[in-house]
């Protein structure tokens, strides 16, 4: 991957492009690449939907190689939802394809002078950009079908739905999966709106005749990859729990722990949890049958395969297996315990191009505001349809939970930096509250995933008996996550690494075998810190202060049942997270 494709959408006569070398960005991938470009090239005080913002799409460092699990892709921009820097991560096929084509990043820049809509086609012969107003206000599924008809059955698509075209702050960027369905989304932070503001509806990628990227040291790479896969297969989470039940295996456990935000964060456990749990979902999928029903990967090269395929009661494809965050957002958080209804909403979100977490949170806030009853699945489905129609109500909801809360006069709005919290109540799990509050991304669970803090020893060992332990852990997790996001590896590798030192070493050996470098655990830590420093510096220049690193005030005063606890980490502790 030695080139960057830049598309100037504001050029006279329609978008033009250049293909440059990596320059200062050599050695970066995934989140490292997106955050480097945004931090260096985007004025932090620009309008997120204006000419100065950029949308960066970057495969991970290892994408396009034969390294297992390496097909994740990062999308970066100044976020229309948070006003800060954003990296949002997705699966799907395009990451591997772009890697094979040699692109380390695609950068959309400028601002179109008219309202024409464009499609971009990339293959081994080059890049073609054409106006296609026939795509206007189509959902992602129709867009991908049209692209397949035009460019063949093997292409990958990066697209936006109606929400992106309407520049709604809850809009996602869709990445097509192995079956060429637009089911994998860079959901968080409104990156779809930025793509919409650039007038690009879809980027079609065709890697025909492009071989996998060759490692610098093939033997070492092959050996390490083998050990890495074995490590993933033998671990109970990555080798058994995730493939069998998917991420939704968390529903029962988190609800049991009293940390499952229910009815817009009013309670910490949901009576209907077992009806929508991963266990029940797996059984339903097995009973209905169909290709890839219960265990499926989101891209080629995934060996964990935490995903699946959801068929409706009549055996027709409806959507990919909704993951934990989606099942929570549209399920328990809205008081809904019907898997078919949740899957239907997931399909609508994917088609309109919406972040399922933000949408579920917005609907729950609207329910609290009196727009519908908690538990009313039909009402929830109709509210999502309003977004697709672009009605005034739909545009409010599609702008996210914070806007929705303001419009409907709701105080209990679970956001940090304007972004809705995911499926864990920080009052019950205070350590994650530290991450929600302080990550540069706005409330984000993936910003502090479980990774080998005990192996990396970033910032020293944690004393579990001291209150600072939570701050310490959050810091270490954020550092390690930023580094993993740069590789293009799925974060779910974390469990095998957490428990098995040899699997962590195998990952380092893969990176070193591929790049010819000699990276150590310390280098991984340094990379993570470097990325976080860049992101925090961008946010500071955009006007963020420590006051933005806080949870909503009600979480400090309103006790969460069943444990009846509030968030107790002091502000000055939160301000220590990035003291390194």
């Amino acid at each position: 991957m030695d080139k960057i494709l830049r598309i100037n959408t504001g050029a006279d006569g329609g978008p033009s492009f250049t293909i440059d070398g990596l320059g200062d960005y050599a050695g970066h991938g995934g989140r490292g690449m997106t955050s480097s470009i945004i931090a260096k090239e985007v004025p932090p005080d620009c309008h997120p939907l204006g000419a100065d913002n950029k949308l960066v799409i970057a495969p991970g460092l290892l994408s396009g190689s034969l390294a297992a699990m390496s097909g994740r892709i990062s999308v970066g921009c100044k976020s229309p939802l948070t006003g800060g820097i954003k990296e949002s991560n997705a699966g799907g096929q395009p990451s591997q394809m772009l890697g094979r084509l040699g692109y380390a990043a695609i950068v959309l820049e400028g601002q179109p002078s008219d309202d024409a809509l464009y499609k971009v086609f990339i293959n081994k012969d080059g890049v073609k950009i054409e106006a296609d107003n026939g795509l206007k206000m189509l959902g992602n599924y129709d867009v991908v079908d049209k692209m397949k008809a035009e460019y063949g059955e093997k292409v990958g698509c990066i697209s936006i739905g109606q929400a992106g075209e309407m520049k709604l702050a809850g809009a996602s960027v869709a990445f097509s999966d192995m079956e060429q369905r637009p089911t994998r989304h860079a959901g968080r932070g409104g990156s779809g709106a930025v793509m919409g503001s650039k007038g690009i509806k879809v980027i079609v990628v065709d890697d025909t005749d492009c071989p996998a990227r060759a490692p610098k040291n093939p033997d070492a790479f092959k050996e390490a990859n083998k050990a890495f896969v074995q490590g993933l297969r033998k671990h109970p989470v990555t080798g058994e729990g995730l493939p069998t039940y998917g991420t939704n295996v968390l529903t029962n456990v988190i609800s049991e722990a009293g940390a499952y935000p229910t009815n817009n964060f009013q309670k910490g456990s949901f009576d209907g949890a077992s009806n929508i749990s991963g266990e029940t979902q797996a059984e339903l999928e097995i009973e209905r049958g169909g290709k890839g029903a219960n265990t499926h990967g989101c891209h080629r090269g995934c060996v964990i395969r935490c995903s699946g395929t959801f068929y409706d009661k009549n055996g027709r494809f409806l959507t990919k297996q909704p993951e934990y965050e989606t099942v929570w957002a549209h399920g328990g958080n809205c008081g809904i315990d019907d898997l078919d209804a949740i899957a239907q909403i997931d399909r609508l979100d994917d088609d309109f191009g919406l972040d399922t977490i933000e949408m579920g949170a917005a609907i729950a806030v609207a329910m609290e505001g009196g727009l519908a009853e908690f538990g009313d699945a039909d009402a929830a489905i109709n509210l999502v349809k309003e977004v697709g129609k672009g009605s005034p109500l739909g545009r409010i909801l599609g702008s996210g939970s914070e806007v929705t809360g303001k419009v409907f006069g709701v105080e209990r709005v679970p956001t940090v930096k304007g972004q809705a919290m995911p499926a864990y109540d920080p009052r019950a799990v205070m350590g994650i509250g530290v991450t929600y509050a302080t990550t540069p991304m706005g409330a984000d669970h993936t910003a502090g995933y479980a990774i080998a803090t005990n192996i990396l020893k970033v910032g020293g060992d944690v004393d579990p008996l001291k209150p600072e332990g939570q701050v310490e852990l959050s810091r270490n997790l954020q550092i390690a996550t930023a580094a993993i996001d740069a590789t293009g590896m799925c974060l779910f590798i974390a469990f095998a690494i957490l428990d098995q030192e040899d699997t962590f070493q195998a990952l380092l050996d893969i990176i070193n075998g591929f790049t010819g470098a000699s990276m150590t655990g310390d280098d991984v830590t340094a990379l993570g810190k470097q990325i976080l420093d860049m992101e925090r510096d961008f946010n500071a220049r955009a006007g963020f202060t420590p006051k933005d690193d806080r949870l909503p005030a009600y979480m400090k005063s309103e006790a969460l049942p069943p444990h009846n606890i509030t968030f107790e980490v002091a502000d000055d502790e939160l301000d220590k997270v990035f003291n390194w």
């Binding site: 995730l242 968390l250 029962n252 456990v253 049991e256 077992s274 266990e279 009973e287 799990v429 350590g431």
Partner: protein
């Protein structure tokens, strides 16, 4: 209390996942440690509890030490394998992320031993698959009308997996069972799975 005894094809028990997730009751002596209740009375192997059950809650609080936490009468014990995700990892038994939980960890309490107690058991994920045959073989109690009504209106596929049934000790046709209204306050349930593979 009405009783239902089923003989089913192998693998049928996973259809009861919602029951395992919501919880069922078993009779046990209480006021004892989790290990005493699960391993000395309910047939869970020590090794299984120590290694396979990685996430364990008592009354909704994560437990780190199965020998110290005491099960009270009416207590709820939840058993799960290792969980994914940051939060999943924070709930792991004695995991190094335990401090992320803050104050909800279960501490030892003084309880007096009572022989005639009841414990609610919730089984999640692979642990449900692996422990449910043992529990259902011994017999469980499903309590509450809505919980018993789980069996009402189940699909043909659900009942097709049942080979024989007894209601209150008397043989009953599977067809009759399908039509039955399960408006019981409490139901004792045993299920014995066939050892042979289910037909496709």
């Amino acid at each position: 209390m009405i009783t239902l005894d089923l003989k089913t094809e192998r693998g049928w028990l996973r259809k009861l996942n919602p029951i395992f997730g919501a919880g069922f009751w078993v009779k046990a002596a209480v006021g004892l440690s989790i290990r005493d209740v699960l391993c000395r009375q309910l047939g869970v192997a020590d090794d299984y509890l120590d290694n396979r059950v990685q996430t364990l809650f008592l009354d909704g609080k994560p437990v780190d030490d199965v020998d110290r936490a005491i099960v009270p009468d009416g207590g709820v014990l939840t058993l799960s394998a290792a969980m994914p995700g940051l939060v999943g990892a924070t709930f792991r038994k004695g995991g190094h992320l335990a401090p992320m939980r803050g104050s909800i960890t279960c501490a030892a309490e003084d309880e007096t031993c009572e022989l005639d107690g009841r414990v609610k058991i919730k089984l999640f994920n692979v642990v449900a698959r692996e422990l449910s045959p043992g529990f259902l073989g011994m017999g469980i109690i499903i309590s509450g009308q809505p919980e018993c009504q789980f069996f009402e209106g189940r699909s043909t596929k659900f009942w097709n997996g049942c080979q024989a049934a007894k209601l209150d000790g008397r043989n009953i046709d599977i067809e009759q069972l399908r039509e039955l209204s399960f408006e019981f306050e409490e139901m004792g349930l045993t299920v014995i799975e066939d050892s042979a593979e289910a037909s496709p």
